[in-house]
Symmetry: C2
Subunit: 281 residues, 2 copies
């Protein structure tokens, strides 16, 4: 039996899976989600979440609450297989595992991502909100800097960025003009370019969408993710998200990058932390 | 072939494993590491790390760099099996997976923890340290409150706490006198009671050793961990550690708890974040 899952917006198309077996899914990583030669890690996180939603998520646990992904090799555009397994299923939560695999140069399967995740029902959680964190203070979207400002075909014209409407706080984009703040913070407004509203899967993407925080430390090179864990804490309200990435421990050639995602109703809807390799530059 | 691994201090005894097979180890969870009926999650994290050290750690990747553990059911004192698997081995890093399993009431195996981890060589990392985080400001250990102050045999006399010399900042223990600060912070000095010096495995324990940060929010009940990811960023210098736990997003019956571990040379040697279930109380 093959079941085609929904495919509407650009993101839903990217996350479209064909079921090959109870726990095995075929998808396709698109050119439009690449940064350099590699597919963005947030899309892979969302793809793993999408497949797990179809396996461990079906028995009353529709939403990712926490996903931890270990990035093993760079994913490239083309076919991808997601192999899932249930680890434990309980009354209110279920835990599963997913691997994203692609054919390598010699045709043999190469694992790109190994992930663990716990799913639950965000709508079924209690209503109490005692968050002490404060949302980032940002100028209005129109007073921010569009991340899509690079001339078409230039080095800064990443296919990935065209998927989003991203407006960065001018106070945290000095690096784009050669004047990084060295505070280790980048923040801005984020929504999908095609108007798709945020949901828990989109939050898995959102935590790894802003430019790497190392740009604000004056390091222009790439900072590949070794591991990323995201907590999804509530269904986001429609509209703009605000995302803040920061780092406090750049040392030994590695750094942590924390991301916070706030929705239009000032709710802290997702948090993530990743361990990344510091750029050489 | 069974190989007895080293067993010196209380912690090394707790992490002692007998190899049953290339990738399968037998250990024993001791009564001394329990909180209530359950074995502390930090010990389980270190035990998973210890087993992986013997499998993926042997080819020049001796140290855990990042470990993500999903807690599936409460571990109890008694025998435990750690089943490991290599996921990927590269030149500078290796990724593996571990399950901690115990016999359940009916004798069938019950999984307690599923973990992913990436190992590397902390001694081989570059020397640059550009950490912007500041260590917690604490009164001297003698001016702090010993966490071991509960009368023997009282409800506060947890076997687990006797494994440590823990001195909590008086400014963050108001909850012990019925006056929690509600800031969501607990911090203090930490070392092993028997004088064992810290190392990367001990850091995996240290991130889950302080009282739950929810005590400082006025919630006396337990906050079971769903998932915990720890980054080990450097080998700790001998002597006292300083540990700070905090939370900023208590909502929907769940909370994140972040831990920072600083060594005696003011290096931020470990960071962790966990997703925990909020206490009812």
């Amino acid at each position: 039996m093959t079941t085609r899952l929904h495919a509407d917006s650009e993101l839903d198309q990217a996350l479209a899976l064909t079921r090959q077996d109870h726990a095995i899914f075929e998808g396709r990583l698109g050119e439009g989600w690449t940064i350099g030669h590699a597919v963005n890690g947030g899309v892979l996180l969302a793809l793993a979440g999408r497949a797990l939603q179809e396996t461990i998520g079906t028995e009353g646990h529709p939403d990712p609450l926490v996903v931890s992904a270990y990035y093993l090799s760079a994913a490239v555009p083309g076919p991808a297989t997601v192999v899932t397994a249930e680890v434990r299923s309980g009354r209110t939560m279920a835990t599963g595992q997913a691997s994203i695999v692609q054919p390598g140069d010699d045709g043999r399967a190469v694992e790109r991502v190994r992930a663990l995740a716990t799913f639950g029902d965000l709508d079924g959680l209690p209503d109490d909100v005692r968050t002490s964190a404060e949302p980032p203070q940002l100028p209005a979207p129109d007073a921010c800097v569009s991340a899509d400002m690079a001339p078409k075909g230039s080095a800064g014209d990443l296919p990935f960025l065209h998927r989003f409407d991203m407006r960065l706080d001018p106070d945290t984009v000095g690096w784009a003009m050669g004047a990084p703040s060295h505070r280790g913070v980048i923040q801005g407004w984020l929504r999908m370019a095609d108007g798709r509203e945020p949901d828990p899967l989109m939050l898995l993407l959102a935590v790894d969408t802003l430019p790497p925080v190392t740009f604000d430390l004056g390091l222009a090179g790439w900072a590949p993710t070794l591991e990323l864990t995201a907590h999804v804490r509530a269904k986001p309200a429609p509209g703009w998200l605000r995302v803040r990435v920061s780092t406090r421990n750049f040392a030994g050639g590695l750094l942590e990058e924390d991301a916070e995602v706030w929705d239009s109703e000032d709710r802290l809807v997702a948090q993530s932390r990743q361990l990344a390799r510091a750029p050489k530059g």
